[in-house]
Symmetry: C2
Subunit: 425 residues, 2 copies
Amino acid sequence: MLTLDNQQLTSQAKASREASRLLATISRETKDRVLTDLAREIDGSHAAILEANQADMTAAAGLEPAKLRRLELTSQSLARLSAGLLQVAKLPDPIGTVTVARRMPNGLNVTKVRSPLGVVAMIYEARPAVTLDAFSLCLKSGNACILKGGKESIRSSSLLAQLAHRVLHRNGLPLSILTSLCGLPREGLEHLLTLDTYIDLVIPRGGTPLIEFVCGHTRIPVVKHYHGICHIYIDQRADITQAIAICLDSKTTAPAACNAAECILIHEGAAAAVVPALVAALVERGVEVRGCKQTLTLARQQSAGAAGLVAASPEDFGREFLDLTVAMRVVKDLDEAIAHIGEFGSDHTDVILTRDEASSAAFVARVASSCTLVNASTRFNDGFELGLGAEIGISTSRVHAYGPMGLEELTTQRYVVRGEGQVRN
Amino acid sequence: MLTLDNQQLTSQAKASREASRLLATISRETKDRVLTDLAREIDGSHAAILEANQADMTAAAGLEPAKLRRLELTSQSLARLSAGLLQVAKLPDPIGTVTVARRMPNGLNVTKVRSPLGVVAMIYEARPAVTLDAFSLCLKSGNACILKGGKESIRSSSLLAQLAHRVLHRNGLPLSILTSLCGLPREGLEHLLTLDTYIDLVIPRGGTPLIEFVCGHTRIPVVKHYHGICHIYIDQRADITQAIAICLDSKTTAPAACNAAECILIHEGAAAAVVPALVAALVERGVEVRGCKQTLTLARQQSAGAAGLVAASPEDFGREFLDLTVAMRVVKDLDEAIAHIGEFGSDHTDVILTRDEASSAAFVARVASSCTLVNASTRFNDGFELGLGAEIGISTSRVHAYGPMGLEELTTQRYVVRGEGQVRN
């Protein structure tokens, strides 16, 4: 448990604000040196980190398996972590980039320039590696960060933060660039969320209770990294073999990921050809299919996947299963599919599978998820897969950043205008 | 007074959400036709609008003069209003613009596409013309809008909204694209602010009490159009004649505007040469100067502006006067000027006047206002002056949009990805 009283929290947030002012002006070279130093520091500290993590794992023994998997660090995941830091060091520095430049008729030189947001607070689960993933992206984008990971990761998260502090100190930078509040109790978090004079953005990443709690307790702007109730719609003119491969990939390659598919909709004109084969393929891969009446009828006619096929209850639509379960429904047409997604989707990721250009164009225009895909797996809604180089999470908020958030999404753009004495009147 | 119970408000917001889905897909031609039709409708309704406005003015007779000036409509302001609508019709449609396009090594075509936010609510003062300014920008950017202007403008705002409804109807579009809630009592506003399932963004535009009220009562993302405590810093190496002209323009051409200067800081190395002439020029133009001790000493030695020069109280720094009053302070150097702006500024607009490139570069890097200018008037922080074509206001929030908000700032960007069967594993 971290014990910081409200006054200490306020001082800490104020120190973050001050550090952010300095950080906004330091060179790319310095930021990249910190990142490469930190990668080396991690490479040399595997034993200590794994020991702290083992202690976290032991203390968290009662936790559900999916959570334990997220908490666990291994030599491999630490190698990935330091490789990730080196990768962020190689990415271009977004700060100072001129995104708009124009000369007005009165001679004013108007530019729009990328600048840091200031202080970014992130609230996330017990995933220790996220502490340094988030730190690296915030540092590179010139933002001080306040990171509150789940309390079960307190030993490993705090140790990783200490390594970062050691490197900041060695490079002559203020430690307040990174504040780790792992283990802060709820009352402390409530106080932190009132500090809108010092914190510019809060990113809650997790399930409904966390998101609701944060949104209900703060005036700080929030970008949500909320759940993914991702849909695949198989149109009448889909390639069936391809459709089955994409459904399997979307559902089974990382069922606990937010970009995994949770519901498959099938045009009734394609249902007889698609449903039995699709159900059989899913069930064979260990997926439980919760089907609508038509799905059940079609699959049972061909006795496909009997073992793993059950009737869907109304709550199965609009549900994030986070495991090897999928809802399936036959729809009348594209309109009904779009209406279903509008009602049950979460604006995260939605896919249409079709060879018909008019259908895919209509789907893409009317389903305004953070990532809408045609003939590809839901799993591609990911910062690396979309070419951002790195990501801090996937925003389901339309305001500020929508979809994977990389370095640019952690910046703002402000106007810098140069004149030679211009006045308006 | 507008009487709508909470249930009616909820239904209305839900209707806005539905209208926004349609609006996201309609063509530029349709949107532009509505705008040009509406301009014509206004041109043909001057008498009725001015009559409604006169009734508003009569009912509001006790209001302070600055507010009455904002409430008043004239034939000229109506002509400007319809010209503004035609101008928005001529601006490019931001929706559908591809801002990023790349082909990934696996053949995926990744694009980032501008899309509407959805439903935008705007809360503003009793300024009836803002009703149609905001409607025009929301319509063109594909957003349904809910507009709540100050209650004193109820007759004229509502009539303008009716004209817009008439035009929407004539063009076969749902009236819920525009909802005018002018005159909605505070309890109604409180309820509206809870409707985060239907409203994507709320923009409060006004003073501290309004901003505080909105931020304290909502989970909807907020972009603030807050006050401008704009600073001018006259560096040691400024051109004195130019500096005086810029200060006069910044303070006197629209003292009630948010981009008017409220405080002038002067490097002590330039103070003896600048202060007497600057004070004299400001006082001659009717400005009351509230000076620090050094300002007073320097100006009085040369008996500059005796009539309009008074000692500043501590509260005069960090204050938005909104009239012909300005605070003035002599500072030791650039660092002290930047520290002063950091403490008392509002991130709106700040200016440095100097011929020294190192000073202007340092100022621009360290003062991160929504618009930072070198050798030009504060009054240029304005959507038209910066080349946006139109603006809905000036954001002082770093998140989502910072500075003047035009059409693009009313949009989000989402990923649209096209594949040929790609899977991740």
